[in-house]
């Protein structure tokens, strides 16, 4: 079994209230896309409340900002889900639902296999990425770093 899994966080700022007409399209695809993630190869875990998704969680003072946090068996598994499934079609509409945020709004990092990241840790990784640019501790799809060769950190 691999020693590490890949954690990902992304944040997004809602353009309009989640229960309004502008976000209806986004809300409609939440359940099917989460279900797709759950059964995708390499999926390990995702943040959710008892509603079955993470939309009730507000990690920042600005309560328009939502968070998505998940863990995958490999970089390729995550990349395949995000960009090579029906998820891509949903992302095509992102500007209809979410405002453009300052970079970085997405961070990837390696966790010991079986570890579940917290929202607090996820926020730290985003801050790390903002301060240092992509490093082994927090990186992006465009500038990835391989799984650590040594003992899990």
């Amino acid at each position: 079994m691999a020693a590490h899994h890949l954690a990902q966080v992304n944040i997004a700022t809602l353009r309009a209230p989640l229960d309004g007409p502008e976000l209806a399209g986004f809300v409609a695809q939440l359940e099917p896309i989460n279900a797709l993630a759950d059964r995708s190869p390499g999926f390990v875990w995702r943040l959710q409340t008892e509603d079955g998704d993470a939309t009730a969680i507000r990690p920042y003072e600005d309560d328009r900002v939502m968070v998505n946090l998940s863990v995958w068996a490999s970089f390729e598994a995550l990349r395949a889900f995000v960009y090579a499934t029906r998820h891509l079609e949903v992302m095509r509409h992102r500007r209809q639902w979410f405002s453009r945020m300052a970079d970085p709004y997405l961070a990837l990092w390696w966790v010991p296999a079986g570890a579940v990241p917290t929202v607090a840790e996820a926020k730290e990784r985003l801050e790390l990425l903002a301060r240092q640019g992509p490093t082994a501790d927090a990186f992006t799809f465009r500038v990835p770093f391989p799984e650590p060769a040594d003992a899990a950190r």
Binding site: A84, L88, E89, M91, R92, R94, R95, S99
Partner: protein, 230 residues
Amino acid sequence: MDSVPPDRDLAAIGLLQDPVRRALYGHVAGASGEVSRNQAAEAVGVQRGLAAFHLDKLVEAGLLEASFRRLGKRRGPGAGRPAKLYRRARGEVAASLPPRTYETAARLLAETVEQAGADLELQVAARRAGREAGRQELATGPPPAVERLLATRGYEPYREERALRLRNCPFSSLAGEYPVLVCAMNLSLIEGLLEGIGEPAGRAGMDPGPDRCCVAVRDRPKATSKDNQD
């Protein structure tokens, strides 16, 4: 950047001047899977030995890749030698005169559009450009078949179930770095193209998969069973 492309790229492209080599390369590059020497020789109409000679030259130049695989079911001693199979090499070969590096500019433009969050504006622009290109096709003759139209634009369409899928992404490396932006742009471009040649709306959609472009073009709905496909 020198005024003359690197030797390796020039040599690779130069190899294709020979019509037999060009035909062999075209056959292998256009095939959906791997091709054996026999298959390639037969498809092009040359002797197996000559095909092998040219195919190996293409491998040497980096245009094709070769692997060995047992084609039949027999294994163990007496099962025969594995066949040498060819497929198009990964990676890109290009030469431009005078020197041009549009990818550098494309990357900067994509980065800026991404930072500005101008996805929708890009989609609108792409759709408009596609529509215009489609209309130009109509201006020069009868409406082209969708498959032909996409083939001339480098998408390498092939039929699968009730749709056309596209083997090649003309923006591959850029799409690799900006997938959401560039794939959405590409879909809008193709939507515009189809609209421009007078096709009913809604035929093109996102359908990503490994080793293919993310867009698929569904067949026309079965209103007229006669020429349903295109």
